[in-house]
Amino acid sequence: MDFFILMLAIPLVSGALLTVVGERAWAPNLNIIASLGTFAAAAGLTIEIVANGPRFAFGEQFFIDSLNVFFVALTAFVGLTTSIFSGPYMKNEREHGRLTAPRLRLYKGMYQLFMFTMLAALTTNNLGILWVAMEAATLTTVLLVSLYRTPASLEAAWKYFILCGVGIAQALFGTILLYFAAERVLGASGNALLWTHLIDVKGQLEPTIMALSFIFLLVGYGTKVGLAPLHNWLPDAHAEGPTPVSAVLSGLLLNVALYAILRCKVLADGAIPNAFAGNLMIGFGLFTLLVAAFFLSRQKDVKRMFAYSSIEHMGLITFAFGMGGPVANFAGLLHMTMHSLTKSAIFFAVGHATQKTGTQLMADIRGLIRINPLIGWGLMLGTLAILGMPPFGVFASEFMILTHAMKYHPWATPILLLGLGVAFAAIFGKVQPMVFGETEARRLPHAPAITPVFLHLGIVLTLGLYIPPYLTRWFHEASRMLG
C-alpha cells in the first residue's frame, strides 16, 4: 500500500467513522490510533522521499518533495501528540460539565478532517486545490472554535470565519490572476495551475500580473498566518476554543498557510525582478513582529498571550523567508519546526493548568509548581524555550535569523531586537508568578497527559544542542527548493 494514499485516507476515513459512531468509551483511543496511523504513514513517506527524491501521486495532482514532506512530517507528529493530550483533557472537560457527548463527537470527527485538509493542502501540486484545501481547513475548525458555545466563543468563531473568509477570498483572486498569467504561457489546460509546470516557466510569467497576484496571495493567506494588520481573529480563536484546538491552530495551521505563501513566492521570485516578493514579506514580517510584541504586554488571558506570541513568531519567520537565500530559508524552516513543537507543548501545559485552576486569567493562576510540578516545569521550560533561551532550539534559529539580518539587512536588526526584547519582558514577567507562588487548586478526575509536553520540549532541546547530519541535509534540501 502506498504511504501517501494511506496518509490521506486514514484521517478522512477515521473522521467519518468518529462522526458516525459518536462518543463511545473507545472513541478517544480511536482518535489516537488514527493519528498514530497517519504519523506512521507520513514517516514512511518521508523516508521514501528522502531516499528516492520527489514523486507525484494521482497523475500530477499531488507532488511531494523534500520541502513539503518536511511540513507533512511535522503536521502528522504534532497531530499525534495533540490527540494524546486531548484524551484526558477532553474527559476532564466533560466531567467539569463544559462539554457534552455530541460535542465531543463533533470535536473528534472535525479534528481528523482538519488533519486531512491540512495534509491535502501540503501535498497538492495544484494551486487551485491548495486554495480549496485551505478554505476547507477553516471550515472544519469554525465549529471547533465555538465548541463551548459560550458568547465569547461564538464571537471568536464568527470573527474567525468572516475574517479568514474575506482573507481567503483575496487569495482566490490572487490564484485567478496567477492562472491568468500562467495560461498565457502554458495554455488553457488543467495543467496551468500545477506548481511543477509553473516552476519550469516562471521566468516567462508576466511580471505585472504576477506582482498583483502575489500581493493578493500574501494578504489572503497572510490573514491565516496571522500577519498584522489582519491578525485580529487569531487571539480570539486561540483563547476561546478548546486547548487542543489552540495547539493545532498555532502549531500547524499557521505553518500550512505560510507554506502556501512560500510556494507562491518561489514563482513570484522567478517572474518579478528586484526581490519584490521578498521585500514585501520582510515588511509584513517586521510589522507583525512589532505589533504582536507590544500587544503581548497588555494581555490578561494566558491563552491569548501565547496566541500573540504565535503572531510574533510568524512575523519573525515571514521576515526570515523574505530575506531568502539558503541560510535564511534554513533558519526559517528550523524556526517553524521549533515554534510548532514548543508552542504546542506550551498550550498542552497551559491547558492542564487552566483546567486545574478553572480560569484562564493569569492573575488567578498561581503556584503551578506546587499543584503539579510537572505542569509547572513544563510551562516554565516551554516559556524559556519560546523566548529563545539557549540551549533550546529556538535560540539557534533566532540566532541564525539575527546574524543573517545583521549581514544583509542591518537596518532591520534594531527592530528585531526591540520586538524580541519587549516580548521577552512581557511573557517572562507574567509566567514567572504563575509557576511560582502560593495556591489552592482542585484535583483533576483524569490524570493529565504530561508526556507530549516533555516529548516536544525534549526534541526542541536536543535540536538546540545537536542537529543530526541527516536532518541538516534534509533541511538544506528543503531550503534549496525555496531558491
Binding site: 495532482q61 476547507a136 469554525v142 470565519f161 477570498a169 485567478i176 488543467g190
Partner: protein
C-alpha cells in the same frame, strides 16, 4: 472603436454591468428577504454571462460552470438562506453602520479604484470578456464594503457570497474560468460553508437571542 466589439462581447459587458448594478442595489437594500432576491438575481445574471461566453467560445467547461452557478447560486443557496431567515425569524430592516447615501458614495470611489487596478491586466488579456475584469473587481470590493457596514450576521454572509460572485466573474472574464476540478472544489467549499453557517446561526441565536453582531464586540485587548 465600438464597431470592433462583437455582439457577444457587448452582451457579456451588458450582463457584467447588470451584475455591478445589482451589487449597488444590494448595498442600498434594507430588507433581508429582498437582499436574498437580489443575490439570486445576481447569480442568474452571472450564469447568463457565463453561458454567452460558453456559446461564443465553444469552451465546454464553461457550460458546466454556468450550470454549477445556476444550481448553486440561483437555486440552492438562496433557498437555504430563505429557510434560515424564516426559521430564525429574522425580520425588519437591516441596520447599517453608515447611512446608505454615504455608503453609495464610498462604493463609487471603490469602483473607480477597481477599474484603475484592473486596467493593466485587462490590456494583457486576449479573451472577449476582458473588459469585465474591472467590473468583477468592483463587485468584489462592493461586497466587501457591504460586509463591513452591515450588522446582521445574515447580511454579512450574503455579502460574502456576493464577493464570491465577483471572483467568479473575474475568473470567467480574465481566463474563461478556472480548471474544472478547482471550480468544483470552490463550489463544494461555498456550499459546506453556508451549511456550517446555518448551524452556526442557530448557536448564535440561542446564545444572544438575536443575529445582530453588535452583541459580539466583547472580545477586545485591554
Amino acid at each position: 472603436m465600438n464597431a470592433a466589439i462583437p455582439f457577444s462581447a457587448q452582451l457579456i459587458n451588458l450582463f457584467a454591468a447588470v451584475i455591478l448594478l445589482l451589487a449597488f442595489a444590494m448595498l442600498a437594500q434594507r430588507r433581508v428577504l429582498a437582499l436574498i432576491n437580489l443575490f439570486a438575481l445576481q447569480g442568474l445574471t452571472l450564469c447568463l454571462a457565463t453561458l454567452v461566453a460558453a456559446v461564443t467560445t465553444g469552451q465546454v467547461h464553461l457550460y458546466y460552470s454556468a450550470g454549477l452557478t445556476l444550481a448553486l447560486k440561483v437555486l440552492l443557496l438562496p433557498w437555504i438562506l430563505y429557510r434560515l431567515v424564516k426559521r430564525l425569524n429574522v425580520k425588519g430592516e437591516v441596520e447599517a453602520l453608515i447611512n446608505i447615501p454615504t455608503t453609495m458614495l464610498v462604493g463609487l470611489v471603490l469602483v473607480m479604484i477597481a477599474f484603475n487596478v484592473a486596467l493593466p491586466i485587462s490590456e494583457l488579456s486576449h479573451t472577449i470578456t476582458r473588459g469585465t475584469l474591472g467590473i468583477a473587481l468592483a463587485v468584489v470590493m462592493l461586497a466587501f464594503l457591504m460586509m463591513i457596514t452591515r450588522q446582521k450576521a445574515i447580511t454579512q454572509v450574503v455579502g460574502f457570497l456576493s464577493m464570491e460572485n465577483g471572483l467568479f466573474l473575474a475568473a470567467t472574464s480574465a481566463t474563461y474560468g478556472m480548471p474544472m476540478v478547482v471550480e468544483l472544489g470552490i463550489a463544494l467549499d461555498v456550499l459546506v460553508g453556508v451549511i456550517i453557517l446555518g448551524v452556526f446561526f442557530f448557536q448564535i441565536r440561542d446564545q444572544f437571542d438575536s443575529l445582530d453582531i453588535r452583541h459580539m464586540e466583547r472580545l477586545k485587548d485591554n
